[in-house]
Symmetry: C2
Subunit: 468 residues, 2 copies
Amino acid sequence: MINNDTIIALATSSGIGAIAVIRLSGENCIKIVNQFFQSKFRTKDLTNVKSHTIHLGTIVENNRIIDEVLVSVFKNPHSYTGENVIEISCHGSVYIQQEIIQLFLKNGVRNANAGEFTLRAFLNGKMDLSQAEAVADLISSNSAASHQVALQQMRGGFSSEIQDLRQQLLNFASLIELELDFSEEDVEFADRTAFNNLITKISSTLKRLIESFALGNVLKNGIPVAIVGEPNVGKSTLLNALLNEEKAIVSHIEGTTRDAIEDEINIDGVTYRFIDTAGIRNTKDFIESIGIKKTFEKIEQAQLVIYLFDLEKIKNKLTTIENSISEIKKIKEKHPTKQLLLIANKVDLVDEKIIAETTTSFQKTPLIFLSAKQKIGILELTSTLTQLANKGALSNNETIVSNSRHFEALNNAFNAIKEVQKGIDNAISSDLFAIDIRQALFHLGEITGEVTTEDLLGNIFANFCIGK
Amino acid sequence: MINNDTIIALATSSGIGAIAVIRLSGENCIKIVNQFFQSKFRTKDLTNVKSHTIHLGTIVENNRIIDEVLVSVFKNPHSYTGENVIEISCHGSVYIQQEIIQLFLKNGVRNANAGEFTLRAFLNGKMDLSQAEAVADLISSNSAASHQVALQQMRGGFSSEIQDLRQQLLNFASLIELELDFSEEDVEFADRTAFNNLITKISSTLKRLIESFALGNVLKNGIPVAIVGEPNVGKSTLLNALLNEEKAIVSHIEGTTRDAIEDEINIDGVTYRFIDTAGIRNTKDFIESIGIKKTFEKIEQAQLVIYLFDLEKIKNKLTTIENSISEIKKIKEKHPTKQLLLIANKVDLVDEKIIAETTTSFQKTPLIFLSAKQKIGILELTSTLTQLANKGALSNNETIVSNSRHFEALNNAFNAIKEVQKGIDNAISSDLFAIDIRQALFHLGEITGEVTTEDLLGNIFANFCIGK
């Protein structure tokens, strides 16, 4: 799998810029670039310069100058890939970028595959697999939250913890395997108390990481928020007010179901996916009850539920506060664990009396009064959202798993560890749980890449961009 | 005009890439970046490192890591701008790019204006004005020809020659001004023979450079080629065949006149702008004669005229060879200096007899037989085009002026020099041509930027991209 040939790719975004950076990696890359590099003032030999130095000169092909460039030299192993690396910083014309790349393609260099620089970094031990995966996440991160999760993972995050636990488990495993060789003598090389402690520790660590995935996933992909309420209570107006207030990146994505439009809004660095729903009403109509069933399904997907109702309708006796309270009750019964946020809209169209009545009716349940149209109370809503999103998360720098491949491996390892635990608890023979230990070792190794296959690597790095 | 404050901009193309480069320039930029930079293994002080070195570390704001980066340090005066320069190579997420830029904007750095890095390079004497202008041309170059012209200009090109001649003229000017002070004594400090030689030399240099502009301009903007011929002789088919053959960058630009569609085709590194015309026919119809007048106007704009006629029509007696010959004659009379390329299309639909007849009729005039539809003879056409385009140009590395501002300044200088020459020839008093010398010095200085105004610089650098 390890190739030492020299690869090349544009490392910066394609298109015209002031400069562009072309990256080469491989044993011979310095030697190859040196053949086409002429220093401005004298003949400089790039193969003799120190690592991490920058050299001004020209890239020349058959006496034709392609460009004036800066060449950065990184020497094995002190480079991104762990190999010799050259970065050519040229003028940012697409024509020049292509001419330089073509020049080297004609001279023993090949185009890098997607993610091949990072794959080489992994294969050369510069980073483990979960760190390599975080590089791709980091590049595609578009919010403070997803950025922090990716950065933490790239900088070691939980993988060093996993690696350490796996090493300890590996030591015990070898002792236990040794016991199997001496099984007729009934010896115990592995200290059962220490072993039990380790298994408990691994088990709780895995549990914590697995649980963090729910949060990690939403931080990476956005927190799903269901907006529930009768038609025309101002759901769209509210979304528009949030968008306007936050001047955030917006995208309207057609939902998987015909009737759902999802809006993504970035508030204080966290992405929210707002899921519009059909609303909940007391009904005996069959068709409507299907709509309500769908609403409950959407609430199930959401992490946070916003219930929106219309104060003006209450004022005009088109609905009652009791009606809203009964709907909220239904949601709470169906989804006791969901966070619920109550919003009374159109506060600008009613008098103090209605507001006071509403507050009294909801007793101690917190309620945000706002006017989506007049943009009253929007800031209160956004800060509440931020509080709820950060609850026990982001803020306290906990390790968070956001990669579904890791989630799966952690789950598999956790199940294997549980079997080991059972074996210990029931004092069964070590040859029976040795296989479970091997399973756990395998799955833990999958995360960091200590256990890997070409297929797995292929899948992971195929999702990278070219040049990384 | 000279600011020493620190400026920042994204130097690479905007959008997502593996990496992005953010550039800072200014006296304090190393100190400022150093405050937010943490080396990976130990605390490194960027203010103490050597110029042209690269440092791995993190950009940290209030204990929050924004990214792992490589920081390149360039020390005054050994940098692009001539000031201290820092280049931060970060992960290529738009979010990260913005976070890093925002961090520095909050800490005493301001956004660079368009072209401000290059403006500073000019103001700090790292390049003259024509070289600075070439940087923008280089970045926007999209063909081998425009790229070579820009690169040559950026690397000094004719501006060092201009600078040298101007310096010599300046020396004479001061001697002549001195004569004016001693005018009552009738002395001649300036050797008239040497002065005359210099004026002749300047005059011929300016003439050569002015003449090169016609070529420089077409190399930069594409060689205008008028395609002339009756309707349905295969003009569009020919354009499509050329496009297909060269797999070139194509753009369809709506012409300024309603009836003209221009096609840009890049062949062997040279861009051609094909201008379709209405065709020329003997007519007494008033409307048609307007069309023909337009055609002659278009031929006037073109550097090369392709006359296309249809062999099949000749075979079917719908037209005659003599008709084509008479049309070609008309073009030659109207435009004696234009290069003319004759093409007989639909060679696949006629027999040897017609081809022989046609060849005989045209006597020694070179003629390309082809079939645009069947793609016969296209390669012969493209190599002929390349030959014509390179005729006495590109290939022999002559200095070429491609910038219309330079063209204007050269023309103005040339006119002033002609006046000086006249003065010398007519042996008029030096105080009368001293003013013309000053004019010539002014216009020569405009090119290199030795004479400049804020307005002029503003105009030039406003066309740059941000980050350059």
